[in-house]
């Protein structure tokens, strides 16, 4: 069985249809990029895979677990055990420092461990910015805090929605290099949504979406 399996997923809103029957499988430890124009349904698909949203029809299996069978709290438990998120906006708690933001994910997972949180921030190159609040960090630094927070509980999957969308080319490259390094060390699965060809080519596989459907599925060789 595939590690991530999306079967005939449809997502309808009151005024629009975001997904029109999407099927996809992802092997464990792969890095997959999803590209497509705005409104093609790539972020909706990512949210449904992460359990942040539910499909109107169809099902999503992760490591054999049918996400549709989980209650809201069971989904939250599943998410904290298995999935890490990185969004386009850094989405950090503004009144917490870098290390506290990372420890927040530890708190929701089990217990907090400041030394471990500091180590995670060291790994993303922010050892010198431990006690700075988000407003005192640059965009690239905020995204690195988000990556540290997403990976602190050793998830099996990292879901990234336009993680470099607000960054310049240099910071984009730094973030992608960091992700590549961590991916090669920890072997988690990455699904990354982007519309930037520079970002998408770092993946091992590229899915192209249009109008709520996957229209192209191609391997990439870095």
């Amino acid at each position: 069985m595939e590690f991530i399996s999306v079967k005939d997923v449809v997502k309808e809103y009151e005024t629009a249809v975001a997904l029109r029957g999407v099927d996809m499988d992802v092997e464990k430890g792969r890095w997959v990029s999803i590209v497509g124009p705005s409104g093609s349904g790539k972020s909706t698909l990512l949210n449904i895979i992460g359990g942040l949203d539910s499909p109107t029809k169809g099902s999503v299996f992760i490591d054999g677990v049918d996400l549709g069978s989980l209650s809201e709290d069971a989904m939250a438990r599943f998410r904290r055990e298995n999935i890490g998120f990185v969004f386009q906006q850094s989405h950090l708690v503004p009144y917490l420092t870098s290390v506290e933001n990372v420890m927040l994910a530890q708190y929701f997972h089990s217990i907090t461990d400041e030394a471990e949180a500091v180590e995670a921030l060291n790994r993303v190159g922010l050892g010198h910015r431990l006690h700075h609040r988000p407003s005192q960090l640059s965009g690239g630094e905020q995204q690195r805090v988000c990556i540290a927070r997403a990976l602190i509980n050793s998830p099996k999957i990292l879901l990234a929605d336009e993680p470099t969308g607000n960054l310049d080319r240099e910071n984009t490259r730094l973030i992608l290099e960091l992700l590549k390094k961590l991916h090669s060390e920890e072997h988690f699965t990455i699904i990354l949504v982007t519309h930037d060809p520079f970002v998408s080519k770092w993946a091992e596989r590229l899915l192209t979406m249009e109008d709520g459907r996957i229209i192209k599925d191609e391997p990439l060789y870095c």
């Binding site: 942040l52 998120f85 994910a105």
Partner: protein, 394 residues
Amino acid sequence: MVVSVAMGTAIATSLITLSLDIKGKVSRELRAFGANITIEPKVEGFADIAGQKRYLREKDIIKAKTIFWRHNILGIAPFLEEKAKISFQDRKKDVTIVGTWFEKELPLPGEKTTFRAGVSTVSPWWDIKGRTPDKSSVVLGVSLAEELGIKQGEEVLLDGKPYVVSGILSTGGKEDEQVFLDLDVAQELKGLEGAVSRVLVSALTTPMDDFAYKDPATMSRKEYEKWYCTGYVTSIAKQLEEVFKGSRAKPIWHVAETEGNVLERLSILVYLLTAASLLAAALSMSTTMAASLLRRLDEIGLMKSIGADSFKISIIFLSEAFIIGCVGGLVGYAISVGVVKFIGLKVFGAVLEERVLLLPVALVSALLIAALGSLLPIRRALRVKPAVVLKEAR
């Protein structure tokens, strides 16, 4: 939010403090209604017809200040009522003469202080134009004075003895037809030294409840002790009966019941106001909390996206409510101390007792307000879909 909680707590704590003190204060104010217990000789009626009219002993009066509830005895006045003939110029009339103390300081047994007794302590509304009577004067009821055409300063004869009219009394009751003398003078006039026919007592009492109406004769020993040691008008009357030899003490029910009803309703009003203030504060807290959570929906969405379940998110916001409750409780208690002092001075002319024991009550009230006010907004906020709020926050 702290302000909502503090104001709610301040009002609730102030009202609770007032409710604890207000009964005593209002009860004391209600003593202006006059006496609420009358003590009479045990045997009258047939014995009286047979020429065996009974009297109480004047020397027993001070014993009222020796009973268990002696501190609740606020006023006491003896009355000796007898028939006599009044003469003024060529007019004569059979009247009731009443010997009493208008105001008298009684030395308290075993103490260096005195106790003010007399009509002014049990019937403060008596209106005397002129002076109270001394050894050679009397006070006439206004109706009697008008009927006989007597004015203040003129001389009348009572059973042939001359007395100057020192004042005219108006009460609107039967007293307007009577003649009032100093108790000693009336006793001497009628040859009844040391005798009184009736004693009126004004006592602070606990409002009557169902238990108070029980017949003491049917009570168990434990019930009787509880009844005896509660300041019911009936139990105070019973204790007075025990110290007045050959007496029967009865509550003046229309006064006692009116007081009881007023105090009861006042208590209910205070309790309802307390509940209303707590509810209003909780609603205010709830509205503010809801507005605050609305601004923080993306934070909740973020927490959910990194794996927080409803319980852990609730714990975070309830902890905030707990801190707000503690701070609000302390501030509210401090405000209530000032409010209670102000109300005490303005309404009752005295400082109401400050009760440190109410601090935990204030804190519990504040925490209740904070918890009740937060539960619903938190519950509602937890329903947000993280995908929706995080998208909106972009």
